[in-house]
Subunit: 423 residues, 2 copies
């Protein structure tokens, strides 16, 4: 395989690619549901069948990184990871078609027949970083929802992305679907701006990656953006909590997968149970290797804790994404609500309490995508909620909130059928 074969070598401009992608959308919109499902199942097969080619292309990308560079692991594909990707595509094939759902149906008194139905968004632009599984994930979700996928991956993964899209397009072709329904843009950085300034061809942009990328897209896009955001998540242990449950929930929320957005960042403790709870938590948290940034008032209760620091004001706004957390003591529910209101990124927030009225108040008053009573924040996830694969967790309030899954890759359309009615 030649090492310099990527799109930017062709004579096609980005605008041409976007126009072609835009025109290809009808091919998906008119395809029977069965064809889309079969095509997805064939994609899963092709990924495994062409393992050798994919891994060879991936090796070309890997060769640019030292063996101990953490970026290398993010780029790396192997047999296991390809199997996982293929399984993911197969799962998407089996999800119900989110388009064509009738949301409302009524006959008006003038005889007009009115329906509101879900339809594809049209062309979805995805901008992401080095992980090559995103190429397959987004392409599969877009195909299942009859959206054209325009992919802008990282230049670090250019060989892998090129072979991935070549395979995807050949399967589309085999099923008589327009191969431009999955379009790979050149990997160059400048292409991002061209994509963000093409609202005439692209209907929505999904940025996936670092906060810096998401902020850049949000500030510069003329195309509407669906963003998935950071999670500064709290667990509040109320004075009427079952402390055994509290300890299990806190340890799970912090340590089961600390690198993800639904992990706990700040533990809020009612002052009446603060000392007892911290004494119970010290051993399991220390065993898991958690560094604690505690407010001054909590330090005596953690005496002897191996990784302890006094919390700075800014620690309460940190999304740690690692085995670290902040601890704060509050005077009951009102102060907990006030702290969360100030510091939450509106992702996932939990209360532990046996008092139903207190739980209800917390669930009602906390402004977040997901609010929990007596459960770990770690459950905020499309698959856990029964929605299937997700693109991420949306912390915005418009269009999609919480797990942003297949069901939200649609828009609505009003269809009105008359017999000559005028107003």
């Amino acid at each position: 395989m030649p090492t310099t074969l990527y799109y930017s070598d062709t004579m096609t401009t980005v605008k041409d690619q976007l126009l072609t992608a835009h025109h290809s959308r009808r091919s998906l919109q008119q395809a029977p549901g069965k064809k889309i499902r079969k095509c997805l199942l064939d994609i899963a097969k092709a990924i495994l069948k062409q393992e050798t080619e994919i891994l060879a292309a991936n090796q070309l990308d890997l060769d640019n990184f030292d063996l101990n560079d953490p970026k290398r692991d993010r780029l790396l594909l192997n047999r296991d990871r390809l199997q996982e990707i293929a399984n993911g595509v197969r799962a998407v094939a089996d999800l119900p078609d989110p388009t064509g759902q009738v949301l409302l149906k009524r006959s008006l008194s003038n005889g007009l027949k009115l329906r509101k139905v879900t339809v594809p968004l049209g062309v979805v632009g995805a901008i992401y970083e080095s992980r090559p599984n995103v190429t397959f994930d987004i392409a599969a979700l877009c195909l299942r929802s009859r959206n054209v996928a325009v992919l802008k991956g990282s230049s670090e993964a250019r060989h892998t992305n090129f072979i991935a899209v070549t395979i995807l397009q050949s399967v589309l072709n085999k099923h008589q679907l327009d191969p431009d329904c999955i379009t790979l843009l050149p990997a160059e950085r400048e292409v991002v701006d061209e994509l963000l300034h093409s609202p005439q061809y692209v209907d929505v942009i999904i940025p996936r990656g670092s906060d810096g990328l998401i902020q850049y897209v949000r500030r510069n896009s003329l195309v509407p953006v669906i963003e998935t955001g950071a999670g500064v998540c709290h667990v509040y242990v109320d004075r009427e909590a079952d402390l055994e449950k509290a300890v299990a929930i806190v340890v799970n929320a912090k340590t089961s997968r600390p690198s993800v957005c639904n992990a706990m960042d700040t533990l809020l403790l009612d002052k009446k149970i603060a000392e007892k709870t911290l004494r119970l938590l010290a051993k399991p948290m220390a065993d898991a290797g958690v560094r604690i940034f505690a407010e001054a008032g909590a330090l005596p209760f953690l005496k002897g804790y191996p990784m302890l620091e006094e919390a700075q004001a800014t620690d309460y706004d940190r999304e740690f994404l690692s085995l670290q957390c902040a601890v704060k003591i509050v005077d009951g529910l009102p102060e907990a609500l006030d702290h969360i209101d100030r510091h939450s990124t509106k992702h996932s927030e939990a209360i532990v309490t046996e008092n139903k009225t207190t739980a209800r108040a917390f669930l009602d008053l906390v402004d977040a995508a997901a609010v929990y009573s007596n459960a770990s924040t770690r459950f905020t996830d499309g698959a856990e909620f029964g929605l299937g694969a997700e693109i991420g967790i949306s912390t915005q309030k418009l269009h999609a909130r919480g797990p942003f899954a297949l069901e939200k890759l649609v828009t609505e359309k009003w269809i009105i059928q008359g017999k000559g009615q005028v107003r």
Copy 2:
């Protein structure tokens, strides 16, 4: 009543006002539904009862304009218009509460109880121009949906808006609702930027007014925006149309209220029926005073038409908002679809045909908020669709599409109740 009494004279900063508005949201979220309804009915009463004060304040605003300035009519309130506004508020009082709707409910295999419910957006910022009825409309819709309304009206209407909000707040107060739930910002232009840069206090911005205002807000807002857009609307008369229906629909779509966004802008005619249709249309269109910009090929069929010009390429992108329209002849459905794809603003599009397959293809393939077969585009309207009062017609694809009514002034929240579950 003093002539210089408006908010910018107080010592309160805009940031303080936004913070206070943000904190007031719980007052609405916890209020019983009956209280909200009663408060709205009392607002309708107060508008009529305080007619004298409102009209006096309105006169101060009107005094800045010449009698024949068209801006004066937009600003003007009188007994009839206040009655209309009060009726509108009463209608909103009777709409169902859009919050607290359970969209999904499931028990997971691990015992977690999961619900997705609608909740208020929180704080809604409205930026609008001179019409003072918008103050009452938006305040009523926000109150009904338990959202705090932060209003930035035009300085031209400052006295009217001040008395309006004073009345609204006194009714809130009477019902033990926090009066800051309806907050009027200073009328100065710079306040707009402060509002657009306050995502920590404001959840969504709704611009209402000229295209210039909407573009400015879209480009400068850090707060998510819901916009209602322009309509370049088409009626396509197919070769298999019932021409009697076609004439009625075209005349209605163009002339029944030419100043609104759902009026027809371009008439597309299949070449097989172009001549006959234009000959039938000439008299009613001329009688209504419609100026026609027709493509060269259509000019002979309109010979003798009193207000006729040859269409320029740019005429097909005009939203006329007046008694003018463009006419183009196309070679059947594919060319009609292609023209609409290029020139439509995705608002309202109609086909006239007796062929069901052709109608179905048009309804499926045209990408617009509302698509019609054999009916006038003028029906795109919240009240016509049975949704009640609307803020406008959304031509965007995310969150709200088509009539943007009360039902879309909400977001979703996932509520998860457990018994100590961890992942």
